[in-house]
Symmetry: C2
Subunit: 338 residues, 2 copies
DNA sequence: ATTCCACCCGTAAACGTTTACAGGGGCCCA
DNA sequence: TGGGCCCCTGTAAACGTTTACGGGTGGAAT
C-alpha cells in the first residue's frame, strides 16, 4: 500500500508552502493564482485530507457514540434509526457500542471517552446510573446524554419517559374493557424499567381500586422466551387471569405464543398489552396493543441535545420528558385499526 | 474543560523522559524503579492515552465501519449483531453507516476510507458493485469486504449467498405441497437481490415444468406496504393464485395482511413463503415459512475476513458462499414447528 | 588500568494537519 | 524618494504519541 498524498506532496507540486495549501483547502482568503495551482495539484493527486491528523490538531473527531444494552432489542434499534440521520446531517459519524446490559461494559465505554475517540456520547444504561457512572461522566470531559432516568441532580442531559403513566394508560384501558384480574409479566427488578414498571403496576391497581395479588405477578428477563416462561407460570397459578400487562413487546409475544397453545382466546379470554410499541406489535397476531414510550422520539431528542452541547458548548443540563401513549390494537379489543 | 494529562505531564511528575513513559506504558523492558515511578504518576494523574495521537503515529485507528442500506431492515440488523462482537473481541470499534440504499452515499463511504478514519470496511451495496465502486475500493487503500455479489474478478473479499438455490428450495417445497399457480412478489429489479431472484424464479419454474406467467409476477419495493400493494394487484389479476413467493419477509408480511383481509386462508387457499428468515418470520401469524440466507452467518464471515486482512496483511481475495436453507413454518404447512 | 559489552534512558524526529507570527513586495501618498 | 500599509505567503510550532539512535554508566574480562 503506497502512501497517499499529503499536503506536503501538494505543496511541492504546486510550488507553494504547506500553509498555503491548508489555507486554500480550508477556504481562507488567498490569491486567485495560488488557489488555482493548489486545487489543480490536489485534484491531480487525488488528495484526501487525513482525518486523524486533523482530529489531533483540531481536538475534535466528528464522531459520536451510542451505547445501548443490545442492538437486538427493537427499542434501541428505533433509537439508532432516529439518531443516525440527525448526526449525519450535522457531519458526525456514529459509533455503536453494545454493552450486553453489562454495567462494567458501560463504565468501560464511559471511561473510553477519555481516550477522546469521540466528541460525545448517548447512552442508555439498563440498570440505572450508579455513582460510578456519575463519576465517570464527570471525568469524561465530553458531553454525555443519558436516555433513561438519572438520580435527581445528576449534572447530565437526560431524556426520559414516564413509564408510570404508561402502565397507568394500559391498566385504565384494560379496566374500561371490564378486566379485573390483570396479571403482570415484568423484567428484572434491578433494571430501571423493571423497577419503575413494578411500582407503576401497584399504583395503577390502587388507583383503579383493584387489589394487589402476588400470584398475578411474574418476573423474568426481557426476551420472548422469558415471556413465554412467565406466562406459563402465571397461568398455572392463576387460571382466572383475564388480562396480561407485559413489561415489553418481546415478553408479550412470548405470552401470546403460550396463550395460543393453551387454547386461550386473545382477547376473548385474556387481553394482552405490550410495551414499547415496536414494529413487532403490528406484525404479531393478534396485533398487539402496546404502550408507546416514544423510542424514536427519545432517540431524536437525545441526538438534538447532544448536538446542541457540541455546537454551543457547556450549559445547564437539560431534561426532556417524552409522554407515553397507548396504541390500541386487536390483542385487547379484537379489532385491528386500519 | 481543563486539559487532561499527557505523557509529558507524567514524565515531569515522574522525573523521567516521555520516551520512558511511553515504554513503560507499552510494556517494553524498563528498569523496575522507573516502571514504578511512571505507573505511580500515571495512576495519580488518572492518565488515559489519547487515541487520536496514537492513531496518527501508528497509522491505524482500531475502527471498522459497516455500511448497509438501512438499519431498519432486520437483515442488516442480524448482520450487525454478529459483526459487533467479533470486532469488539479483536479490539476494534464499530462505525455504522446507513446509506439509504443510495449509490452516491455508498460511494461517499468508500471515498471516506481515504480519510483513514477506519482501518477497514464491510459493505453491502444494494444495487450492486458498479465500476465506480470497484475504482473506489481500489483507491481506498484499506481492506474492504463486500456482502453480496461482485462482478467476476473484482479483487475484493466477498461473502455471498446463493439466492438462486434459495428460491429453488422454496418453489420445490410449494410444488411438493401441490401448488401450481405460484405468484412472485419481487423487489426492484435494479437491485442485486431483486435481479437475482427474478432470474431464479423463472429458472425454478422451468425446472419444475411450470409455465411462466407474467400475471403472476409483481414488482415493488422491499417494504411491508409495498408487499401489500403488490399482493392486492396480483390477487386482482390472478385470483386463482395458490402460493406466493416473496422476495423478503417484509413483503411477505404485507401479503399476509392483504390475504387476511381478503378472506383468503393461509395456507389453505394461498401458501406464503418469505425470504431472509428474520425474527419477524416467527412472530407473524401464521408463522412464516422463509428461505434463510444466513444473514447472521454472512455477517460473521465478513467480520472474520476483514479481521484476517487487518491482522495478516494483504493476500488473495477470498470468496465465502453461504448456503441457503428453508425454514418451514405454518404459512405453507399450517403446522407450527415446536 | 583499559577495553568491551549490556543495559537504561534521553533526544529528537516523525505521523499530517492548522495557525500565529513575521517578512517581503507592491502600491499609494506625501 | 521614502514611509506606511495592506496583502499574500512562508516558517515554525503545536496537537500527543511512538521509536530509531546514540550516550552514559557500571561491571566483567583482559
Amino acid at each position: 500500500m503506497a502512501e497517499g498524498p499529503t499536503i506536503n506532496t501538494i505543496a511541492e507540486r504546486a510550488g507553494v508552502s504547506i500553509a498555503s495549501v491548508s489555507r486554500v483547502l480550508n477556504g481562507l482568503p488567498t490569491r486567485e493564482e495560488t488557489v488555482r495551482r493548489v486545487l489543480r495539484a490536489a485534484e491531480d493527486l487525488g488528495y484526501v485530507p487525513n482525518s486523524v491528523a486533523r482530529s489531533l490538531r483540531n481536538r475534535r473527531t466528528d464522531q459520536v457514540a451510542f451505547a445501548m444494552a443490545d442492538i437486538g432489542n427493537p427499542v434501541y434499534l428505533a433509537m439508532v434509526r432516529e439518531i443516525q440521520p440527525v448526526l449525519k446531517a450535522a457531519g458526525y459519524r456514529l459509533l455503536l457500542h453494545s454493552t450486553d446490559a453489562d454495567v462494567a461494559d458501560e463504565l468501560d465505554v464511559l471511561r473510553g471517552l477519555r481516550e477522546r475517540y469521540v466528541d460525545g456520547l448517548i447512552m442508555s444504561p439498563l440498570r440505572g446510573v450508579t455513582e460510578d457512572h456519575v463519576a465517570a461522566i464527570a471525568a469524561a470531559r465530553a458531553p454525555v446524554v443519558v436516555i433513561g432516568s438519572v438520580p435527581e441532580g445528576t449534572p447530565v442531559d437526560n431524556v426520559r419517559t414516564d413509564s408510570r403513566t404508561g402502565v397507568r394508560l394500559a391498566l385504565d384501558h384494560l379496566h374500561a374493557l371490564g378486566r379485573r384480574r390483570i396479571g403482570f409479566l415484568n423484567g428484572p427488578l434491578d433494571t430501571v424499567p423493571g423497577g419503575a414498571r413494578a411500582a407503576a403496576y401497584r399504583e395503577a391497581l390502587d388507583a383503579l381500586g383493584l387489589p394487589y395479588d402476588g400470584d398475578l405477578v411474574e418476573v423474568g428477563d426481557f426476551y420472548r422466551q422469558d415471556g413465554a416462561r412467565a406466562a406459563r407460570a402465571l397461568l398455572g397459578r392463576a387460571p382466572d387471569v383475564d388480562a396480561l400487562m407485559c413489561a415489553n413487546d418481546l415478553i408479550a409475544l412470548g405470552a401470546l405464543d403460550v396463550l395460543r397453545r393453551a387454547g386461550r382466546e386473545v382477547p376473548g379470554d385474556v387481553a394482552v398489552v405490550g410495551m414499547d410499541d415496536t414494529d413487532l406489535a403490528s406484525v404479531a397476531w393478534p396485533t398487539l396493543t402496546s404502550v408507546s414510550l416514544g423510542s424514536a422520539e427519545r432517540g431524536r431528542a437525545a441526538a438534538r441535545l447532544l448536538l446542541d452541547r457540541l455546537e454551543n458548548g457547556p450549559r445547564e443540563p437539560r431534561v426532556v420528558v417524552v409522554e407515553p401513549s397507548l396504541t390500541v390494537r386487536a390483542s385487547t379489543t379484537g379489532v385491528d385499526p386500519e
